[in-house]
Protein backbone atom coordinates (compact mmCIF):
# COMPACT_ATOMS: atom_id res chain seq x y z
CA UNK A 1 0.00 0.00 0.00
CA UNK A 2 1.48 3.33 -1.04
CA UNK A 3 2.01 6.11 1.50
CA UNK A 4 -0.79 8.22 -0.06
CA UNK A 5 -3.28 5.38 0.46
CA UNK A 6 -2.06 4.94 4.02
CA UNK A 7 -2.85 8.59 4.78
CA UNK A 8 -6.23 8.32 3.07
CA UNK A 9 -7.24 5.23 5.04
CA UNK A 10 -6.05 6.78 8.27
CA UNK A 11 -8.20 9.87 7.75
CA UNK A 12 -11.26 7.88 6.67
CA UNK A 13 -11.00 5.58 9.66
CA UNK A 14 -10.85 8.48 12.06
CA UNK A 15 -13.49 10.76 10.48
CA UNK A 16 -16.32 8.92 8.76
CA UNK A 17 -17.80 12.05 7.18
CA UNK A 18 -14.72 12.18 4.92
CA UNK A 19 -15.69 8.98 3.09
CA UNK A 20 -15.80 9.75 -0.61
CA UNK A 21 -14.36 13.23 -0.14
CA UNK A 22 -10.69 12.28 -0.45
CA UNK A 23 -9.15 11.99 -3.90
CA UNK A 24 -5.62 11.11 -4.87
CA UNK A 25 -5.07 13.04 -8.08
CA UNK A 26 -1.56 11.88 -8.87
CA UNK A 27 1.58 10.79 -7.07
CA UNK A 28 2.14 12.69 -3.82
CA UNK A 29 -0.99 14.88 -4.05
CA UNK A 30 -4.10 14.32 -1.93
CA UNK A 31 -7.20 16.55 -2.05
CA UNK A 32 -9.64 16.53 0.86
CA UNK A 33 -13.03 18.30 0.95
CA UNK A 34 -13.80 19.21 4.56
CA UNK A 35 -17.16 20.61 5.75
CA UNK A 36 -16.92 23.99 7.41
CA UNK A 37 -18.02 22.97 10.92
CA UNK A 38 -15.58 20.09 11.39
CA UNK A 39 -12.57 21.79 9.85
CA UNK A 40 -10.69 22.46 13.06
CA UNK A 41 -11.11 18.87 14.29
CA UNK A 42 -9.51 17.53 11.12
CA UNK A 43 -6.78 20.16 11.29
CA UNK A 44 -6.02 19.35 14.90
CA UNK A 45 -5.77 15.65 14.18
CA UNK A 46 -3.48 16.17 11.23
CA UNK A 47 -1.11 18.46 13.08
CA UNK A 48 -0.93 16.59 16.36
CA UNK A 49 -1.25 12.92 15.40
CA UNK A 50 -0.07 12.83 11.80
CA UNK A 51 2.62 15.40 12.52
CA UNK A 52 2.04 17.79 9.66
CA UNK A 53 4.76 20.24 10.48
CA UNK A 54 4.85 22.22 7.25
CA UNK A 55 2.30 24.72 5.95
CA UNK A 56 3.10 25.65 2.37
CA UNK A 57 0.41 28.23 1.88
CA UNK A 58 -3.26 29.14 1.97
CA UNK A 59 -5.05 29.71 -1.33
CA UNK A 60 -8.23 31.72 -1.47
CA UNK A 61 -10.81 31.11 -4.18
CA UNK A 62 -13.93 32.87 -5.38
CA UNK A 63 -16.24 30.23 -6.80
CA UNK A 64 -19.29 32.20 -7.79
CA UNK A 65 -21.74 30.82 -5.21
CA UNK A 66 -19.28 30.72 -2.34
CA UNK A 67 -15.73 31.38 -1.31
CA UNK A 68 -13.23 28.62 -0.55
CA UNK A 69 -9.87 28.32 1.15
CA UNK A 70 -7.34 25.56 0.48
CA UNK A 71 -4.72 24.81 3.12
CA UNK A 72 -1.61 23.13 1.71
CA UNK A 73 0.11 21.02 4.34
CA UNK A 74 2.61 18.24 4.36
CA UNK A 75 3.81 15.54 6.76
CA UNK A 76 7.59 15.37 6.53
CA UNK A 77 7.65 17.33 3.29
CA UNK A 78 7.03 14.43 0.92
CA UNK A 79 3.29 14.28 0.28
CA UNK A 80 1.11 17.38 -0.12
CA UNK A 81 -2.32 17.21 1.54
CA UNK A 82 -4.71 19.97 0.42
CA UNK A 83 -7.64 20.66 2.75
CA UNK A 84 -10.41 22.56 0.98
CA UNK A 85 -13.12 24.24 2.99
CA UNK A 86 -16.07 26.13 1.52
CA UNK A 87 -17.07 29.46 3.05
CA UNK A 88 -20.47 31.08 2.59
CA UNK A 89 -20.72 34.30 0.67
CA UNK A 90 -22.70 36.48 3.05
CA UNK A 91 -20.67 37.32 6.17
CA UNK A 92 -17.66 35.16 5.31
CA UNK A 93 -15.45 34.39 8.27
CA UNK A 94 -12.99 31.73 9.38
CA UNK A 95 -10.90 31.20 12.45
CA UNK A 96 -7.21 31.86 12.36
CA UNK A 97 -4.74 28.99 12.59
CA UNK A 98 -2.00 31.13 14.04
CA UNK A 99 -1.74 29.05 17.19
CA UNK A 100 -0.33 26.20 15.11
CA UNK A 101 1.58 28.14 12.47
CA UNK A 102 2.55 31.76 13.22
CA UNK A 103 3.35 32.32 9.54
CA UNK A 104 -0.31 31.82 8.68
CA UNK A 105 -0.84 35.46 9.68
CA UNK A 106 0.62 36.57 6.34
CA UNK A 107 -1.68 34.35 4.26
CA UNK A 108 -4.72 35.23 6.33
CA UNK A 109 -4.14 38.94 5.93
CA UNK A 110 -4.08 38.37 2.18
CA UNK A 111 -7.43 36.59 2.40
CA UNK A 112 -8.85 39.48 4.39
CA UNK A 113 -7.58 42.22 2.13
CA UNK A 114 -8.08 40.79 -1.31
CA UNK A 115 -11.19 38.63 -0.91
CA UNK A 116 -12.85 40.09 2.14
CA UNK A 117 -13.00 36.89 4.22
CA UNK A 118 -12.91 38.03 7.83
CA UNK A 119 -10.45 36.06 9.96
CA UNK A 120 -11.15 35.88 13.71
CA UNK A 121 -8.14 36.03 15.90
CA UNK A 122 -5.74 38.11 13.83
CA UNK A 123 -3.73 40.66 15.80
CA UNK A 124 -4.14 44.35 14.99
CA UNK A 125 -1.97 45.49 12.15
CA UNK A 126 -1.66 47.38 8.90
CA UNK A 127 -3.07 46.26 5.62
CA UNK A 128 -1.12 43.74 3.61
CA UNK A 129 -0.65 43.70 0.60
CA UNK A 130 -2.85 46.63 -0.34
CA UNK A 131 -1.56 50.20 0.26
CA UNK A 132 -2.30 51.86 3.57
CA UNK A 133 -4.91 54.34 2.49
CA UNK A 134 -7.04 51.84 0.57
CA UNK A 135 -10.75 52.38 1.30
CA UNK A 136 -12.62 49.74 3.29
CA UNK A 137 -14.93 47.39 1.52
CA UNK A 138 -13.06 47.27 -1.79
CA UNK A 139 -11.80 43.75 -2.37
CA UNK A 140 -10.02 43.58 -5.72
CA UNK A 141 -9.88 39.82 -6.25
CA UNK A 142 -13.60 39.19 -5.98
CA UNK A 143 -15.18 38.22 -9.27
CA UNK A 144 -17.80 40.96 -9.08
CA UNK A 145 -15.41 43.82 -8.24
CA UNK A 146 -15.09 46.34 -11.00
CA UNK A 147 -12.22 48.78 -11.08
CA UNK A 148 -14.27 51.58 -12.60
CA UNK A 149 -14.22 54.78 -10.67
CA UNK A 150 -11.17 53.75 -8.67
CA UNK A 151 -9.41 57.10 -9.03
CA UNK A 152 -12.36 58.90 -7.56
CA UNK A 153 -12.60 56.53 -4.62
CA UNK A 154 -8.90 56.96 -3.87
CA UNK A 155 -9.14 60.75 -4.07
CA UNK A 156 -8.93 61.72 -0.44
CA UNK A 157 -6.83 58.82 0.77
CA UNK A 158 -3.10 58.15 0.97
CA UNK A 159 -3.06 55.43 -1.64
Amino acid sequence: MSPEEAIKNDLERKFDFLNGNITIKRARRIFVDVPFERFHDVLDYMIKKMRCAMLSGITGLDEVENFAAIYHMSPEGKIMVNLKVKISREKPHIKSIMQYFPIAEMYERELEDLLGIHVDGLPEGRRYPLPDGWPKGEHPLRKDWKGAGLEMKLEGTDA
Binding site: L130, P131, P140, G147, L150, D158, A159
Partner: protein, 148 residues
Protein backbone atom coordinates in the same frame (compact mmCIF):
# COMPACT_ATOMS: atom_id res chain seq x y z
CA UNK B 1 34.13 81.42 -11.29
CA UNK B 2 33.86 80.40 -14.90
CA UNK B 3 36.81 78.03 -15.00
CA UNK B 4 35.76 75.99 -11.99
CA UNK B 5 32.19 75.73 -13.23
CA UNK B 6 33.48 74.48 -16.57
CA UNK B 7 35.61 71.82 -14.90
CA UNK B 8 32.78 70.66 -12.66
CA UNK B 9 30.39 70.44 -15.60
CA UNK B 10 32.97 68.50 -17.59
CA UNK B 11 33.23 66.02 -14.72
CA UNK B 12 29.45 65.65 -14.50
CA UNK B 13 29.12 65.05 -18.22
CA UNK B 14 31.96 62.61 -18.60
CA UNK B 15 31.46 60.37 -15.59
CA UNK B 16 28.07 60.63 -13.91
CA UNK B 17 27.38 58.87 -10.65
CA UNK B 18 24.24 56.80 -10.76
CA UNK B 19 21.70 55.60 -8.24
CA UNK B 20 19.55 52.60 -9.05
CA UNK B 21 15.99 52.28 -7.75
CA UNK B 22 13.37 49.59 -8.32
CA UNK B 23 9.75 50.68 -8.03
CA UNK B 24 8.01 47.33 -8.04
CA UNK B 25 9.61 45.67 -11.07
CA UNK B 26 10.17 41.99 -11.74
CA UNK B 27 13.96 42.51 -11.36
CA UNK B 28 14.90 41.75 -14.97
CA UNK B 29 15.77 45.39 -15.74
CA UNK B 30 17.70 45.62 -12.48
CA UNK B 31 19.86 42.67 -13.47
CA UNK B 32 20.51 44.29 -16.83
CA UNK B 33 21.54 47.54 -15.16
CA UNK B 34 24.00 45.72 -12.95
CA UNK B 35 25.22 43.76 -15.99
CA UNK B 36 25.94 47.07 -17.65
CA UNK B 37 28.23 48.05 -14.80
CA UNK B 38 30.12 44.78 -14.33
CA UNK B 39 33.10 43.76 -16.51
CA UNK B 40 31.29 42.43 -19.61
CA UNK B 41 29.90 45.78 -20.71
CA UNK B 42 31.87 47.73 -18.15
CA UNK B 43 30.57 51.24 -17.71
CA UNK B 44 32.80 51.60 -14.69
CA UNK B 45 35.87 52.08 -16.88
CA UNK B 46 34.35 55.44 -17.87
CA UNK B 47 34.03 56.51 -14.29
CA UNK B 48 30.36 55.74 -13.81
CA UNK B 49 29.97 54.70 -10.18
CA UNK B 50 27.00 53.07 -8.52
CA UNK B 51 26.28 54.96 -5.32
CA UNK B 52 24.22 53.93 -2.34
CA UNK B 53 22.58 57.22 -1.50
CA UNK B 54 20.66 59.77 -3.56
CA UNK B 55 22.64 62.61 -2.06
CA UNK B 56 25.72 61.57 -4.03
CA UNK B 57 24.04 60.78 -7.33
CA UNK B 58 23.62 62.67 -10.62
CA UNK B 59 21.45 60.23 -12.52
CA UNK B 60 18.59 58.12 -11.16
CA UNK B 61 18.13 54.85 -13.06
CA UNK B 62 14.60 53.78 -12.33
CA UNK B 63 12.88 50.54 -13.31
CA UNK B 64 9.42 49.21 -12.75
CA UNK B 65 5.88 50.52 -12.89
CA UNK B 66 5.24 52.67 -9.89
CA UNK B 67 3.04 50.88 -7.36
CA UNK B 68 0.87 52.92 -5.06
CA UNK B 69 2.86 51.96 -1.98
CA UNK B 70 6.18 53.18 -3.31
CA UNK B 71 5.01 56.43 -4.88
CA UNK B 72 5.71 58.62 -1.84
CA UNK B 73 9.11 57.00 -1.31
CA UNK B 74 10.10 57.67 -4.92
CA UNK B 75 9.19 61.34 -4.55
CA UNK B 76 11.27 61.56 -1.40
CA UNK B 77 14.31 60.05 -3.11
CA UNK B 78 13.96 62.41 -6.07
CA UNK B 79 13.85 65.41 -3.75
CA UNK B 80 16.97 64.26 -1.93
CA UNK B 81 19.10 64.32 -5.07
CA UNK B 82 21.08 67.57 -5.49
CA UNK B 83 20.68 69.71 -8.62
CA UNK B 84 21.39 69.15 -11.51
CA UNK B 85 19.73 65.76 -11.65
CA UNK B 86 18.36 63.52 -14.38
CA UNK B 87 16.01 60.58 -14.36
CA UNK B 88 16.27 57.68 -16.78
CA UNK B 89 13.33 55.27 -17.08
CA UNK B 90 14.66 51.79 -17.86
CA UNK B 91 12.35 49.20 -19.40
CA UNK B 92 8.85 49.24 -20.84
CA UNK B 93 7.15 49.16 -17.45
CA UNK B 94 8.92 52.32 -16.38
CA UNK B 95 8.14 54.14 -19.63
CA UNK B 96 4.41 53.53 -19.90
CA UNK B 97 3.41 50.81 -17.49
CA UNK B 98 3.94 47.91 -19.89
CA UNK B 99 1.67 44.93 -19.33
CA UNK B 100 0.49 46.38 -16.02
CA UNK B 101 -1.17 49.48 -17.41
CA UNK B 102 -4.70 49.73 -16.12
CA UNK B 103 -4.20 47.50 -13.07
CA UNK B 104 -5.69 48.63 -9.81
CA UNK B 105 -2.40 48.86 -7.96
CA UNK B 106 -0.03 50.65 -10.33
CA UNK B 107 0.20 54.17 -11.66
CA UNK B 108 1.39 53.67 -15.21
CA UNK B 109 4.97 54.80 -15.77
CA UNK B 110 7.39 56.95 -13.82
CA UNK B 111 6.50 60.19 -15.59
CA UNK B 112 3.24 60.34 -13.67
CA UNK B 113 5.26 60.90 -10.51
CA UNK B 114 8.57 62.62 -11.33
CA UNK B 115 9.92 64.33 -14.49
CA UNK B 116 11.85 61.97 -16.75
CA UNK B 117 14.76 62.91 -19.03
CA UNK B 118 15.28 59.73 -21.05
CA UNK B 119 13.20 56.65 -21.84
CA UNK B 120 14.82 53.30 -22.64
CA UNK B 121 12.31 50.71 -23.83
CA UNK B 122 12.79 46.95 -23.84
CA UNK B 123 11.67 43.98 -21.82
CA UNK B 124 14.21 43.77 -20.35
CA UNK B 125 16.24 46.68 -21.69
CA UNK B 126 19.52 45.26 -22.88
CA UNK B 127 22.75 46.83 -21.58
CA UNK B 128 23.58 48.05 -25.09
CA UNK B 129 20.35 50.01 -25.22
CA UNK B 130 21.05 51.34 -21.74
CA UNK B 131 24.52 52.59 -22.73
CA UNK B 132 23.09 54.10 -25.91
CA UNK B 133 20.39 55.94 -24.03
CA UNK B 134 22.66 57.32 -21.34
CA UNK B 135 25.19 58.45 -23.95
CA UNK B 136 22.49 60.30 -25.86
CA UNK B 137 21.35 61.97 -22.66
CA UNK B 138 24.88 63.15 -21.87
CA UNK B 139 25.50 64.34 -25.43
CA UNK B 140 22.36 66.42 -25.37
CA UNK B 141 23.77 68.22 -22.36
CA UNK B 142 26.88 69.27 -24.26
CA UNK B 143 24.97 71.79 -26.27
CA UNK B 144 24.17 73.68 -23.09
CA UNK B 145 27.30 73.24 -20.98
CA UNK B 146 26.25 75.86 -18.43
CA UNK B 147 23.84 73.94 -16.18
CA UNK B 148 21.17 75.65 -14.08
Amino acid sequence: MGVITKIVNWGRRKSPWVLHFNTGACNACDIEIIAGLTPTYDLERFGVLLKGTPRHADVLLCSGPVTRQIESRLKMIYEQMPEPKFVVAVGTCACTGGVFKGCYNVKAGINTVIPVSAYIPGCPASPKALIDGVTKLLNSLEESPKKK
